[in-house]
């Protein structure tokens, strides 16, 4: 038997593959592709305490081997989620991770407190959204701000708390260390890289928000590097993401130091990518005589 189970901050995932926040809604949209129970976990669409309309369109721009988005955290708010989406999710045998966001620290705290009473398994504190004017990445781009918000939310979060880090910083590992010191149970990285495209005929940015987050295979090497740097500096589990599209990428990310991985943009061109990654990893482990996936974590042999 090959073991694919991983443990992140006391929560057991049946495999290390999690669908990334903002790419998988609240799960329902993909239930006709495969049972959600195949997934290690689902990081749910970023949520705020109150409903949020998000940014005006266009919100999407294609780029070489990737895309920009500036959705701006559109979501129905926590009460709507608890009433209409949580009952459905409760029936799905997979780990439910609530991605929580807000425009001020109080919003995050209120959301964490409210969701602590629900059947959510873990929190993913989103301090790295590049597409909102208030809050979002502002909390995640300095050690001071990141420490402060993690310290405050920690008081209200009664579930294990992952902190999702922004790559748009000088030294991501120091931010990871700062949130670890304040009680983060795990870190996930990377969120999108801030980018921009311009229509040369209209001289207008393609995104109405002018700038947006870059994701897709284009950012994979950046993500691997950052996961490697962070994993070398913290003791808490690391969840790696950014451009993973196939099982080889997932193995590589785990060798860089990730204890689990998330898949996002790849699902837009291949909705079955998470399943193919799970199956591919399992086969690779068998082919290489490795009995436990945890054995490969951080096994890169740097020069």
């Amino acid at each position: 038997m090959t073991n694919l189970k991983v443990n992140i901050a006391g929560v057991e995932l049946k495999n290390p593959v999690i669908t990334a926040s903002g790419c998988f809604g609240f799960g329902r949209e993909y239930e006709c592709m495969y049972p959600l129970s195949r997934l290690g976990g689902i990081s749910l669409k970023g949520m705020t305490f109150q409903e949020k309309l998000g940014n005006p369109p266009p919100r999407i721009a294609e780029t070489p081997s990737g895309m920009l988005n500036s959705v701006g955290l559109q979501n129905p708010g926590v009460e709507h989620f608890l009433q209409y989406d949580m009952p459905y999710l409760s029936q799905q045998d997979t780990v439910k991770i609530a991605n929580i966001a807000g425009s001020c620290v109080e919003d995050y705290c209120a959301l964490a407190e409210r969701l602590s009473e629900s059947e959510i398994d873990m929190f993913e504190l989103n301090i790295s959204c590049p597409n909102v004017k208030q809050g979002g990445a502002a909390f995640g781009t300095s050690c001071e701000n990141a420490s402060h918000i993690v310290r405050e939310v920690r008081k209200y979060a009664k579930k294990p708390m992952i902190v999702k880090l922004s790559p748009n910083v000088t030294d991501i590992a120091s931010i990871a260390q700062a949130v670890e010191a304040e009680g983060a149970d795990a870190v996930s990285l990377i969120n999108t890289l801030l980018g921009m495209r311009i229509d040369i005929n209209t001289r207008r940015p393609i995104l109405h928000n002018n700038v947006g987050g870059l994701s897709g295979p284009a950012i994979f090497p950046v993500a691997v590097r950052m996961v490697w740097q962070v994993a070398n500096r913290v003791k808490i589990p690391v969840i790696g993401m950014g451009g993973i599209e196939k099982w080889q990428d997932a193995i590589e990310m785990m060798m860089a130091g990730a204890n689990a991985i998330q898949i996002g943009a790849a699902m837009f061109y291949n909705p079955k990518a998470p399943i193919e990654v799970i199956d591919g990893m399992e086969q690779w482990l068998k082919d290489n005589g490795i009995k436990d996936i945890n054995e490969i974590v951080g096994t890169v042999k740097p020069w």
Partner: protein, 257 residues
């Protein structure tokens, strides 16, 4: 929601000024409706290309799609040959709401907005009028197909090289003066949809429009393809072309954003 995803064979490519593919996909065709779309993967590109369904042939188990080369992705897609496989997701979105076949319908299509109107007009047979606008005579597609299924075709071009020299709304006004239909369906540039919607509102005629937006997932998961829609209480929210649309009641669409 129910959709499928897999690789399906392109069985026929018709000549013409647009790419005109017939795809053998019996399981998708069996559940497809007028106004829905398929989401096609283009090798080497992150985003699939949403293309509206032009015709559904359940007996043959095929879908027909037409598209124009608009950028790098459609340029690659246009290199497809008969017998090639395409990775297709579909059917996606909500189609047009079809009334009883004895009702009178007008379909209005502008340019690449013409193809989805063919399947829409089909169910009305002789009770459908197709008002079709193209840039010029060399851009005309599908007029014979509309005629063959019994629709009356009213044609216009921007440059006057075929049919009426002017806009689809000129022809819509003319048709309204003859007889008001039970419903109008429209697909095309947003500015065209705006004026069609205005004219329908002035005459108290129900109107549904099909919208386009830059799209990623195609199934309502990523919330990328937002479009402003007026709610019943008058407030405006962002709904999503892929899941809530692409078809919306025209009176709810916010055209000036």
């Amino acid at each position: 929601m129910e959709y499928l995803q897999g690789t399906y064979r392109v069985t026929k490519i018709r000549p013409g000024c647009m790419c005109d593919y017939t795809i053998a996909c019996p399981d998708i065709a069996a559940i497809s409706k007028a106004g829905q779309f398929v989401h096609i993967r283009v090798p080497g590109f992150t985003l699939r290309r949403p293309i509206s369904i032009c015709e559904v042939d359940r007996q043959a188990g095929t879908l027909r799609i037409l598209f124009d080369i608009r950028g790098e992705g459609t340029k690659v897609l246009a290199q497809t040959k008969e017998g090639d496989l395409l990775d297709v997701m579909g059917p996606l979105g909500n189609g047009f709401e079809l009334l009883d076949a004895d009702k009178k319908a007008i379909v209005v299509g502008g340019g690449i907005g013409v193809p989805p109107m063919l399947e829409t007009a089909k169910s009305y047979g002789k009770n459908a009028t197709a008002i079709l606008g193209f840039r010029s005579s060399d851009k005309i597609v599908l007029t014979d197909d509309f005629t063959a299924q019994g629709s009356r075709v009213m044609l216009c071009t921007d440059d006057g090289s075929a049919g009426h020299h002017g806009l689809v709304t000129d022809l819509l006004k003319q048709r309204f003066e003859e007889e008001l239909p039970d419903i109008v369906y429209a697909c095309g540039p947003k500015i065209m949809l705006k004026f069609v919607a205005q004219m329908c509102a002035q005459h108290g005629v129900r109107c549904q429009v099909s919208l386009e937006e830059r799209m990623a997932c195609g199934v309502g998961a990523c919330l990328g393809c937002a479009t402003p829609i007026r709610q019943e209480d008058g407030s405006v929210t962002y709904l999503h072309v892929c899941k809530n649309g692409p078809v919306f009641d025209a009176e709810r669409v916010v055209f000036d954003d």
